[in-house]
Symmetry: C2
Subunit: 248 residues, 2 copies
DNA sequence: CAGTGGTCTAGACCACATC
DNA sequence: ATGTGGTCTAGACCACTGA
């Protein structure tokens, strides 16, 4: 399929972009289209160079951009594979909430997972029309038996067909690994907004704290390879949980 | 000075590291030593390649690592310069606190700036002995006349000789630009811990909020090129200010 | 063993900034 | 006009993996 148009994948209407960038963008496209899926070995740099009619050095530069974006992993002697989001060292790539002892391994308790319609705020965050189909997940994170974080997750249903049933079935600890396995969605980037709020009645009940307790609230939007917002979530954490960040 | 030992800067006891990495590390050393200071034009890649007796491609790879670490900036036709931390686009590289309207330009109000001795907690954070000389800065950030953030900054005095007087004189808005200009310290990396706290009496007074108001607290350690902690600071922000983060 | 990616070289041509 | 970095090529040798 792809080899038929490989003779000149590039240089048609791609403006003045350098070859290695055009090539990189085409490789991203091939991952997005599902031609290559997570964990899969992709052709070697020499093979790709031939396919795209560029020199090995140029192909290498294209691939190296994918490495810095963590889209692929290279191993000498083995080859280049599409990054799996559930590899151990990738597991908490986006997870910044930790308890005092820096352990961040929490059990998940699913409270509910139901299909629904986007309200105005959700539609705005997900870049959808109001009333579009979404999936709502309400989940608790516990640490040594105590609830520490409550999560409200909203997913685009159009990108995750039948997602509510599947999620309810699997109840995964790590969401993005499921998105990858089941829906071929790779979460590439997230934006978070952190603020301090006072616990309301509902939080007090769910998290077992007094009303008015200062909680850490994190609002997240998660983007896929194409730059679409796939998920938005709101997390509220009890005192003792903090948000760690390192720059750059 | 440096050209005398340039014939073989590399390859002596540098283990099996690739040439481009050895070269890069030596370039970092030359910035740390003050041989090259912020804003300065460094030799061209061909000149550096000759000096280090490597090919242009290898020199380029060394320099490109410095670019990704934002230590230098390259411009075609002009050359390569050591990054200035006070350039406009670098100004808020480490500043994640914003108000609702995303403006993060606050005026600084200096409350105090005095030399002192590190207590146990400060010594630990700064990796110093207890009682070591430090500089303490107490500062307020205001937005449209209202206080929004209160900052407690602690600096290593040994790396900023006579720093208290100098800071008191200049009262800079952007600390790291002063560190760079005056002390040739480049802040390269910061770690932050964000949590929610209830305002105590002191916060209430300084920030003009009620005791018990949920505040956002950010604790930061700032590292220089050599990996030493130069500064630690604690910030407390009023409601309406949030912490923005994007990954990766 | 053959094939992979990692390092290194030596050249070419170009767009751009500066004088 | 000169020199800079940005792109691109075509080769070389090596370390490592897997069959």
């Amino acid at each position: 399929m792809s080899s038929e148009i490989s003779a000149d994948r590039l240089d048609t209407a791609e403006a003045n972009k350098p070859l290695y960038r055009q090539m990189k963008e085409d490789l991203v496209r091939r991952v997005m289209s599902g031609e290559w899926v997570a964990g899969q070995l992709v052709p070697s740099e020499t093979a790709l160079a031939q396919e795209y009619s560029v020199s090995v050095g140029t192909a290498r530069k294209a691939i190296e951009e994918l490495v810095t974006e963590r889209l692929v992993v290279r191993q000498r002697g083995r080859g280049t594979t599409i990054t799996r989001n559930d590899e151990r060292y990738e597991r908490f790539r986006f997870y910044r909430l930790h308890s005092e002892d820096r352990s961040s391994i929490y059990a998940s308790v699913y409270l509910s997972c139901v299909p629904g319609r986007a309200n105005a705020a959700e539609a705005k965050r997900l870049n959808l029309k109001r009333g579009a189909a979404v999936i709502r997940v309400h989940r608790l994170r516990t640490h040594e038996g105590r609830p520490v974080v409550v999560e409200n997750i909203v997913l685009r249903e159009d990108r995750c067909p039948n997602g509510a049933a599947i999620i309810n079935n699997q109840r995964p600890d790590h969401f993005y690994s499921l998105l990858e396995r089941v829906f071929h969605i790779m979460i590439n980037r997230v934006q978070e907004k952190v603020l301090a709020v006072a616990a309301v009645e509902e939080d007090a009940e769910t998290l077992g704290v007094a009303v008015g307790t200062p909680l850490l609230e994190v609002s997240r939007e998660a983007f896929d390879l194409g730059g679409d917002v796939i998920e938005c979530r709101r997390m509220r954490a009890v005192p003792g949980i903090h948000y760690l960040n390192e720059m750059p």
